[in-house]
Symmetry: D3
Subunit: 132 residues, 6 copies
Amino acid sequence: MATVTLLSDEELSPEAAAVFADIRAVRGTDFVNNFWRALAHDPETLKATWERLKAVMAPGALDPLVKEMLYIAVSVTNGCDYCIHSHTAAARAKGMTEAQYGELLAVLGMAAETNQLVTAMKVPVDAVFEAG
Amino acid sequence: MATVTLLSDEELSPEAAAVFADIRAVRGTDFVNNFWRALAHDPETLKATWERLKAVMAPGALDPLVKEMLYIAVSVTNGCDYCIHSHTAAARAKGMTEAQYGELLAVLGMAAETNQLVTAMKVPVDAVFEAG
Amino acid sequence: MATVTLLSDEELSPEAAAVFADIRAVRGTDFVNNFWRALAHDPETLKATWERLKAVMAPGALDPLVKEMLYIAVSVTNGCDYCIHSHTAAARAKGMTEAQYGELLAVLGMAAETNQLVTAMKVPVDAVFEAG
Amino acid sequence: MATVTLLSDEELSPEAAAVFADIRAVRGTDFVNNFWRALAHDPETLKATWERLKAVMAPGALDPLVKEMLYIAVSVTNGCDYCIHSHTAAARAKGMTEAQYGELLAVLGMAAETNQLVTAMKVPVDAVFEAG
Amino acid sequence: MATVTLLSDEELSPEAAAVFADIRAVRGTDFVNNFWRALAHDPETLKATWERLKAVMAPGALDPLVKEMLYIAVSVTNGCDYCIHSHTAAARAKGMTEAQYGELLAVLGMAAETNQLVTAMKVPVDAVFEAG
Amino acid sequence: MATVTLLSDEELSPEAAAVFADIRAVRGTDFVNNFWRALAHDPETLKATWERLKAVMAPGALDPLVKEMLYIAVSVTNGCDYCIHSHTAAARAKGMTEAQYGELLAVLGMAAETNQLVTAMKVPVDAVFEAG
């Protein structure tokens, strides 16, 4: 069930097809997942999203696997089913071990719990935690 | 503004005082932040939360700094002000560089954006993303 | 999968049946969607919700299509699957074009991203943004 | 209280200064609000965010005021204080009347309520609401 | 900081003044809290909200204190600062003991944690949990 | 669809099997629901979560049914489908009547609505609502 159709390669506009070609080249696979097929109805947003994602998720000061785990953390907290599935799969493809996944889950659960407790009590921020 | 008072060392029950002593020993500092002073009204929850946090955030398959960044990711997505402040400070204390922080922010922003797009379109999960 | 059964017309209490009759009259269709069939177990909440919805979504200072798009914005941000589906369908029925839908998605994604960045940095509110 | 300092014009890198110059030119005012001063620590994210925001919020198939109201809807649902303040001010600057604001609030409240009811009952999506 | 001004008794429209009179009569106090003073700009929403709140929070199959604690649970999970403060105060005024408050907090924290774990793993719903 | 497999009794580690035995003993049934079967991949988190849940949900200053309803309130607000199903079923098993469930829903909807209105207007907290 979706609110838009998923476009096949044959249904793409030339602008969308160019983005798909770059996704395939960067990822080294012919497979293009449903998110991009849904977004392809609007080539401008498709291109802007892909270009930014490509830059943000590239290796840098943070390891690509760490970035995937951060992506999972946001997606779980937002309850985005598709994103949880796709980024958990991506993290495993990038080498996440079961031990790492287990610790990731434990941190996510712990953070959700203490967030809730802090929010319930409206704890004032300690002065030492503020920036400059 | 809080919904509970913050307990000073003098106001702690013996059970709460024992937890505070362990916090100080583990962290190697006399400073105990407001979260624990608010939680100290209920020594059982105080102890359970501290014991679990100590275990979850310890070095393991994931680096402690990575765990702090995951904690920030959840806290930002939940909008927990206190937690954002305290864990950003903790990540910096554990060596997070400005370049790492910049990339962390970029991933958090990107994840929030694609979560929103995916959710709006209710994209069906690709079969390849499912476990076993 | 639901936590309540969906009531058929034959299973309605007289109070719920009266609300269903008004829904059909106002909307000009015999079709009553599942939300109301689930809510019909509690005729008081059914009636209060329908009466308020009818007033809030009526034409006024804002166009009914704008109201539907605002409803989508809240529903997406809350991750309410049913609501995303029903209000996206309602917006299309009220004339939302694909170009409008594309821009709606782009704004929703952008807002989620900058919300996340602002929250992560705990940016203080500029004085000029405050009321009175 | 923030987790980063707010950069003054004198503290900007050349890349950040160029973005600030464009913000001023596009908006026709010398005032640059705190969000950009916080984001300026990372010129790449600053530039990417501003360029995308400029494109997304420009007049198009949707009116700029409608876009601001959609931005408010997301920001309120996410509980982003800064964003609520800044986009409510922006909507008023673009001509939002008090009557429109009142209806916006009423829709936001109603949507939050029915989202909650639907989610509690896990109402299955009616077949007619699905896309193609 | 607010996005609207708070209306004093002298600034109320006759319709809003009538609602304030009923709030005072039902609650048995002259004090009217800021939520209603902010909402009073739109007498229709003010009246609809108050009338529904009065009905929903009245004694019924659930005890008024239980209703206040449920209200706190939603408000904490949504991160609504004002609501957390006002409903925690209301629960105390209705007799919530410190022991009850401690258990309430423990449940809220636990629920947030297991919600997060379940969502991360996308656990399928057991057949026995579904309604008729 | 899940991101982990569900472990059968035969696949459990000895540590996980011991937790399952305690779940069965405490609940007085051989049935162990999917949440625990998913969590069983990580016996440490499994054990910590079960031990804490057992303590938190036990009878105390709050009635076990009230605790289940609070759990539902958090789960609905977080949009955790599995949790909504499992805790609604648990509340019914503990005697929640349809009248109580109807009032629970009404409070959850009302709270979501007023949370949204308060957040949109950024209403300042009344001084009387603050703790000591």
